[in-house]
């Protein structure tokens, strides 16, 4: 966006006939990325001989400032009226070269890019074929460029409100940053409380400060912030519009609590007779009531009725909560409601899910009582958890005298997830420390492939745990079993692994096993991605625009991502991304308007038959039908230039600017320049 040169008005030459256009062609080496496979000098020499072309050059890096200056000088010295650059993907540098054209006084839409890197040099090792294809691409670009028309960008106002989806630490950070900058934020969370996964944790590595102590103040800040509208127990169901002007439909699920009346006193929770396993917040290790909140410091403080376990909802009687509520805040008749929000930008911070340890049967989770997942262990060591912070076996009473911690469960494994989940090594080290702290005599074994302690003060924490006497066995665990081979193993869980540092198989009998389960994309991440119109990778993580340089922005303008919805992350990275996303949004809002591509459709009224086919085809609801004159019209600000209507119109009455029929057909002619006419064979 830094390339925008809005202040210099474009001074374009009057539109000449295509024959009079003066084209400059620039072929980029991209270091060796293109030049290794394509004879770039050859392409440039050939290009200069083509019709319309007055100058053709090749250059090491066209995107460098020197490369751009070449174009600018030629436009002015040689009077170029069109510019073609054969280089990388337009996603990468179209903006760069349009900026160069504009600086030299040429309308930026009189520029055409031929992608000879991703489409050609990276796709083959065949130098001859690649060079020939590059020429065809350049020819197509020239033929198209001469028919291009100068276009002026559209400017639309940016709605300064922002939607943040997900109230975990990443979303919470983003929301607070924006709110503190003076912008309004709608913070939507599908859970009954904000706080996300971090709210379940006890201590955080490597400093061991308590998660609640650092998280709950932020949760309260969000709830009390005048610039934040908190919407928990709510989900986004539909998104319309475009950057600067999104229209979002939010579904509020019924809590069966009148929030204005509820004081959060908790009497209803205490008196509710229905106690059920909490598979959600307590990950199956503890219980909650049919009316309850996730944890005592939940924000907001209002409980929610779990209708599948509420005796009133299941059998029509009970109403204990209603009877005891001092403020008559219980309302069994509540229905879901919908709300429409208008926002300029959206930040998705929808987080991750834990890998399901049942998928690795050889580790015995669910079969062997004293095998726990890492999140179960987190709840166990949490003072507010099911055991009030005591480390105990499944019997709820006995303290383990030995604990085996198994790394990489579901991670770094092609049978499950090939990637490293990043945070588990450090969490495992933290667990080792916590066992030593809570059960001073216990032996702790860490079974690992590699200890990944890359982070500030992480390696030092690893050393601290080493000094505390934790055993480290380098070997991925083969299996956990209760089938004892001899007296020393009876009644124990036996962890079998190769100790790779001595090259021997070992069986370590322990009382408790903790499985460090990896992170996975949320099971419905693909649906969420399609609702918001962004991409997912193979594993379901949201795709960023650029893995290194643009990690919080997506390919869809105005939709940003933060935290573990983009890939496994610990708290510090999630917070950094939340802040980064907020800064990007604040920067955009600060400009007040946004420049939109003028690539829009328009309908030639005289040719329109009023059939209305285009009305239904348009995914953006950008076409209106004038009943009185039986003609359809495109609302330019809503049109996204997708071209669906152009293709659908049976009367050929719709034109897509910058993609006119003539431009596209000429480009195809150019691409096929060396084919015999009439003998095109579709292989």
């Amino acid at each position: 966006m830094s390339n925008d040169q809005d202040q210099i008005p474009p001074i374009s030459p009057p539109h000449a006939s295509p024959d009079e256009e003066r084209v400059g062609v620039y072929v980029c080496h991209c270091g060796s990325n293109i030049a290794r496979t394509i004879a770039v000098e050859d392409v440039a020499v050939w290009a200069e001989q083509q019709e319309h072309v007055v100058v053709a050059r090749d250059y090491k890096f066209m995107c460098s400032s020197l490369g751009q200056e070449l174009i600018e000088q030629d436009i002015q010295a040689k009077g170029l009226s069109r510019v073609v650059v054969a280089a990388c993907s337009p996603h990468m540098h179209e903006r760069t070269f349009r900026g160069a054209c504009q600086r030299a006084g040429l309308n930026p839409y009189l520029f055409e890019m031929a992608n000879i890197r991703e489409l050609t040099s990276w796709a083959t090792d065949d130098r001859e074929a690649a060079t020939s294809k590059a020429k065809a691409q350049v020819k197509g670009a020239i033929e198209r460029a001469v028919l291009q028309e100068p276009l002026e960008p559209l400017f639309v106002d940016i709605n300064p409100n922002t939607l943040v989806v997900g109230g975990g630490i990443a979303g919470l950070t983003a929301a607070l940053e924006l709110a503190d900058s003076g912008y309004h934020v709608y913070l939507v969370d599908r859970d009954s409380s904000i706080g996300g996964q971090m709210a379940k944790l006890d201590k955080t590595f490597p400093t061991l400060d308590c998660a609640a102590c650092i998280l709950t103040p932020k949760m309260v800040d969000a709830a009390n912030h005048p610039n934040i509208t908190l919407m928990t127990w709510s989900e986004v169901v539909a998104v319309d519009g475009f950057v600067g002007n999104f229209s979002v439909q939010v579904r509020h699920k019924p809590r069966y609590i009148i929030e204005d009346l509820c004081t959060g006193c908790g009497t209803c929770i205490e008196k509710c007779p229905s106690r059920v396993l909490d598979q959600h917040f307590e990950v199956g290790l503890g219980y909650h009531k049919a009316i309850d909140r996730n944890f005592p410091q939940a924000v907001p403080k209002y409980p929610v009725i779990d209708t599948t376990h509420c005796i009133y909802f299941q059998r029509g009687k009970c109403r204990a909560c209603q009877v005891v509520c001092p403020t008559n805040a219980i309302d069994f008749t509540q229905k879901e409601t919908f709300e429409q929000l208008e926002v300029g930008n959206i930040i998705l911070a929808t987080g991750y899910e834990q890998f399901d340890a049942r998928r690795v049967p050889q580790y015995g989770y669910g079969r062997l009582a004293n095998v726990f997942t890492s999140m179960e262990f987190e709840r166990m060591v949490n003072a507010a958890g099911p055991t009030s912070g005591q480390v105990v076996l499944r019997d709820g009473v006995s303290a383990p005298q030995s604990v085996g911690i198994i790394h990489c469960v579901g991670s770094r494994d092609k049978n499950y997830n090939e990637y490293c989940s990043r945070a588990c090594c450090m969490a495992a080290l933290k667990f080792a420390h916590l066992v030593h702290e809570r059960v001073p005599d216990a032996e702790v074994y860490n079974f690992y492939i590699d200890i990944r302690a890359a982070g500030k003060h992480y390696e030092e924490f690893y050393h601290r745990v080493l000094e505390e006497g934790t055993h480290f066995i380098r070997g991925r665990v083969a299996e956990v079993t209760d089938a004892a081979r001899g007296p020393g193993e009876e009644g124990k869980l036996i962890i079998q692994a190769e100790d790779t540092l001595i090259g021997k198989q070992r069986r370590i009998p322990v009382d408790m096993v903790v499985l460090m389960v990896g992170m996975e994309a949320r099971h419905d991440s693909r649906n969420v991605a399609s609702t918001f119109g962004l991409g997912c990778d193979f594993e379901g993580w949201f795709t960023e625009r650029h893995a290194k340089l643009d990690p919080v922005v997506t390919m869809t303008e105005g939709i940003l991502i933060a935290g573990a919805c983009q890939g496994p992350k610990a708290i510090p990275e999630s917070v950094a991304q939340g802040s980064a996303a907020a800064a990007r949004v604040a920067g955009l809002i600060g400009r007040r308007t946004i420049k939109l591509e003028p690539v829009r459709a328009s309908i030639e009224a005289a040719a329109c038959s009023g059939c209305r086919i285009c009305n239904n085809v348009c995914p953006y609801h950008a076409i209106v039908f004038h009943e009185a004159i039986k003609i359809s019209e495109v609302i330019t600000a809503l049109c996204q230039g997708c071209g669906a209507c152009v293709a659908a119109c049976p009367s050929a009455a719709i034109t897509g600017a910058h993609f006119t029929r003539e431009q596209v057909l000429s480009q195809i002619d150019g691409l096929l320049w060396d084919m015999q006419p009439g003998v095109l064979v579709l292989a």
Binding site: Q279, L285, G396
Partner: protein, 341 residues
């Protein structure tokens, strides 16, 4: 249902009981097994250790013979060939099943290998196109094609009171060259089959561990220890009988049980039967037709428990929720398959 049937060398003699009971049970369930004509040995685990091309060619001959014999006959020329179902080849022996499915899969994945193997087969006037057969293990066909419901409907004498340790061994569930019909680590189809027959299925954590294969012939030290682990585990869960689906597993656990007892000073007395033998008994067939009595560790005392309560003095409560007053125990993880039981 029609199937090609590859018995393998073991079922001809040392596991004749498996063959007899398979045929008897197939008859009851309406599964029609037609033996591959003039089949040869699958090579077990031995050929691959010595001679790679011969190992592939040996099994290649069986596949070629079977594919030819069971090729869908074009009775109606209007039906396109693709519409005809791929003929199925059933193997009751785990090693035969593994070799047949492995060779078919590897030939499909490597055209280079397929060409070589066909060059060898050509010396005998044979040819095999990978994928022409679907290789399946007998247990898969019994539980998934005949089905638990049909089996339950034919039970005449439920195996009530018999405590069974279901033993899968290795090669049926691993590595699944033609897809896995059961979990490679903790399979359950045989457990469910035994429950359908009315037997009490004991927990048997080592049910997919190895019996040692040919190690009984090569290194008794290795083999007897592997067998001891299995027998100890089954005995701890108070099984009356170990049920198996592989001739090698049966042979090792049964024939070498006394050697284990001698070596380790134990007194295991666990009869080892094929799952088809127990199916036959439950279907009311005569024990003689099922080859019962050919085992080294006699099964009759154990089978006499059929019809009793099957209760044991103290159930080994490993990993199970203990229900007590003032129970402070933490809940066990939710396991979807618990619903089924």
């Amino acid at each position: 249902m029609q199937y090609g049937y590859y018995p393998g060398c073991s079922l001809e003699r040392n596991a004749g009981a498996y063959h007899d009971s398979t045929m008897a049970v197939a008859g009851v369930l309406g599964l029609q097994f037609t033996e591959v004509d003039d089949w040869n040995c699958c090579g077990a685990t031995e050929f691959f250790s010595v001679h790679q091309m011969q190992a592939y060619a040996l099994t290649g001959r069986n596949l070629a013979l079977a594919a030819d014999q069971f090729a869908p006959k074009a009775a109606l020329p209007v039906i396109p060939v693709e519409a005809a179902e791929t003929p199925q080849l059933v193997a009751p022996c785990s090693a035969c099943y593994l070799n047949l499915s492995k060779v078919d899969r590897y030939l499909a994945s490597s055209p280079e290998l397929a060409a070589k193997v066909n060059t060898a087969l050509d010396a005998g006037g044979l040819h095999y196109d990978p994928g022409s057969l679907r290789v399946r293990h007998l247990l898969d066909v019994v539980v998934n094609d005949a089905g638990y419901d049909a089996i339950a409907a034919r039970v005449q004498r439920a195996l009530t009171g018999l405590r069974v340790a279901p033993y899968y061994g290795c090669l049926v569930v691993r590595p699944g060259f033609q897809g896995q019909f059961d979990d490679p680590e903790y399979p359950t189809t045989l457990d469910k089959l035994m429950r359908v027959l009315g037997a009490k299925v004991v927990d048997f954590p080592l049910k997919a561990h190895c019996c040692g294969g040919h190690m009984t012939q090569i290194s008794e030290d290795v083999a007897l220890e592997l067998l001891r682990r299995l027998l100890k585990n089954a005995a701890e869960y108070q099984a009356d009988v170990i049920v198996t689906l592989c001739p090698m597993c049966q042979l090792n656990l049964d024939v070498f049980q006394s050697a284990v007892n001698r070596r380790f000073g134990t007194n295991f007395n666990l009869p080892v039967l094929f799952f088809t033998q127990l199916m036959g008994l439950a279907f009311g067939l005569a024990p003689e037709r099922l080859g019962i009595g050919k085992e080294f560790v006699a099964s009759r005392p154990a089978l006499a428990k059929i019809g009793t309560s099957g209760e044991v003095e103290q159930e080994r409560a490993v990993g199970k929720r203990a229900k007590r007053r003032n129970d402070q125990s933490l809940p066990m993880p939710y396991m979807p398959e618990e619903e089924e039981r």
